[in-house]
C-alpha cells in the first residue's frame, strides 16, 4: 500500500524532504510509524510520542490506514522553554 507522508520540524532535515510517497507493509498508523522509525533510526527515541495526523485529523496508533491517505508526522514539542 502506498500513502503520502508529510513531515514537520526536524524530521524534514532528517529525511531531507517535506513529503514523499511511502510504501507500508501493514494497515495501521503504528505500522507507518514503525517503518518510518526503522528507516530513520535517529527518531527511535521519539517513537511513542510522535505527533501524528491522518488526513489532518487525529489518528490513534491503532487506526487503520488506506491507500492514498496522507499521514502527517511531527516530533513532540513539549518543553516550556
Amino acid at each position: 500500500m502506498e500513502i503520502k507522508i508529510k513531515l514537520y520540524g526536524r524530521y524534514r532535515e532528517i529525511a531531507g524532504k517535506e513529503e514523499f510517497q511511502f510504501k507500508v507493509n501493514g494497515d495501521t498508523i503504528w505500522d507507518v510509524i514503525d517503518k518510518f522509525v526503522k528507516k530513520y533510526s535517529v527518531i527511535e527515541k521519539d517513537k511513542k510520542f510522535i505527533m501524528v495526523l491522518k488526513n489532518n485529523t487525529y489518528a490513534s496508533f491503532d487506526e487503520k490506514i488506506e491507500e492514498g491517505d496522507t499521514v502527517t508526522i511531527s516530533p513532540p514539542v513539549v518543553s516550556g522553554g
Partner: protein
C-alpha cells in the same frame, strides 16, 4: 488604566480602542514561569491586559538565563513566580499581577483558573497540558498550547468545543520520561510572541490560526488546519481522566 501609553497600539486596526478596553478587563492565567511563561507574561503586561496570575513552583538558576529575558543574575536562587510578579508590576503598575508559588495539580487547577478568560501554557510536561486541556473543556475556558524543542516551536489556540483540543492532536502518552530538552535561547521569546497573538485573537473574539509550527533556524513557518476529532475522549465524550 491610563490608555495613553497604548496610543500606538490602539491605532492598529486589529486592536482599536474597543479592543484595548476589552483587554484591560481580561484575566489571564499563565501556568509556568519559564522560557515561554516569563516571556509571555512580559509581553502581556506591556499590551495592557487587566490581570495576570503566574503559577510556578520553581527557583531561578543560572541555566535559565539564556532564554528568559526578564530575569538577571541577581535573581538566581529566588522564587520565579514572585520575582516575575515584582518585575511585571514595575512595567505597568496598573495591571493586577500575582505570582503564585505552587505546582498545578488536579486538586488546585480549578481554583487557580477560576474567573480567568484564558489560560496560557508555559509548562514543561505533557501531563500538565492534558490536565489544562480537561479543565478547559469542562469549564469552557480557552487556552493556548505552546512548546519548544531545539529550534522548533509549536503553538495552538484551543477553543472548547469549537477547535480541536490538545487531546485531538496528541497520543495518550501522559507520563513521558522527563529529560533535559535542548532549546535555542532566542526561540522562546518568538514562540511566546506568537502564543500571545493567538491569545489576543481569542480574547477579542477573532479566529485563531490553527496549529502553528515555526522552525527559527530554517525560517519555516507552517500552519495546519486540523479537524476536530468527534470521537475525542476529552472534547467529544467529555471523559476527564485527570481532573
Amino acid at each position: 488604566m491610563n490608555f495613553d501609553r497604548f496610543r500606538r497600539q490602539i491605532i492598529v486596526n486589529e486592536i482599536g480602542e474597543n479592543g484595548q478596553q476589552l483587554l484591560s478587563k481580561k484575566k489571564v492565567v499563565i501556568i509556568g514561569g519559564g522560557g515561554l511563561g516569563s516571556n509571555s507574561a512580559n509581553i502581556l503586561v506591556r499590551l495592557g491586559i487587566g490581570r495576570i496570575d503566574i503559577i510556578d513552583d520553581d527557583i531561578l538558576d543560572i541555566t535559565n538565563l539564556h532564554r528568559m529575558s526578564i530575569y538577571n543574575e541577581e535573581d538566581i536562587g529566588k522564587i520565579k513566580s514572585q520575582i516575575l510578579a515584582e518585575k511585571l508590576q514595575k512595567i505597568n503598575s496598573e495591571v493586577k499581577v500575582r505570582g503564585i508559588d505552587k505546582k498545578v495539580t488536579k486538586k488546585n487547577i480549578e481554583s487557580i483558573t477560576n474567573n480567568s478568560n484564558i489560560i496560557l501554557d508555559g509548562t514543561d510536561n505533557l501531563e500538565t497540558r492534558f490536565l489544562i486541556n480537561e479543565l478547559s473543556i469542562k469549564k469552557k475556558i480557552p487556552w493556548v498550547y505552546a512548546g519548544v524543542h531545539g529550534t522548533i516551536g509549536m503553538i495552538m489556540a484551543i477553543e472548547p468545543k469549537i477547535s480541536p483540543c490538545f487531546r485531538c492532536i496528541s497520543q495518550n502518552n501522559i507520563r513521558e520520561k522527563s529529560f533535559e530538552i535542548p532549546v535555542l535561547g532566542n526561540l522562546p521569546v518568538i514562540i511566546s510572541s506568537i502564543q500571545i497573538t493567538e491569545a489576543l485573537k481569542l480574547l477579542l473574539d477573532k479566529n485563531p490560526s490553527g496549529l502553528i509550527i515555526y522552525d527559527i533556524w530554517n525560517q519555516n513557518f507552517e500552519r495546519i488546519n486540523i479537524k476536530r476529532n468527534q470521537q475525542c475522549i476529552c472534547c467529544g465524550k467529555e471523559v476527564f481522566e485527570l481532573l
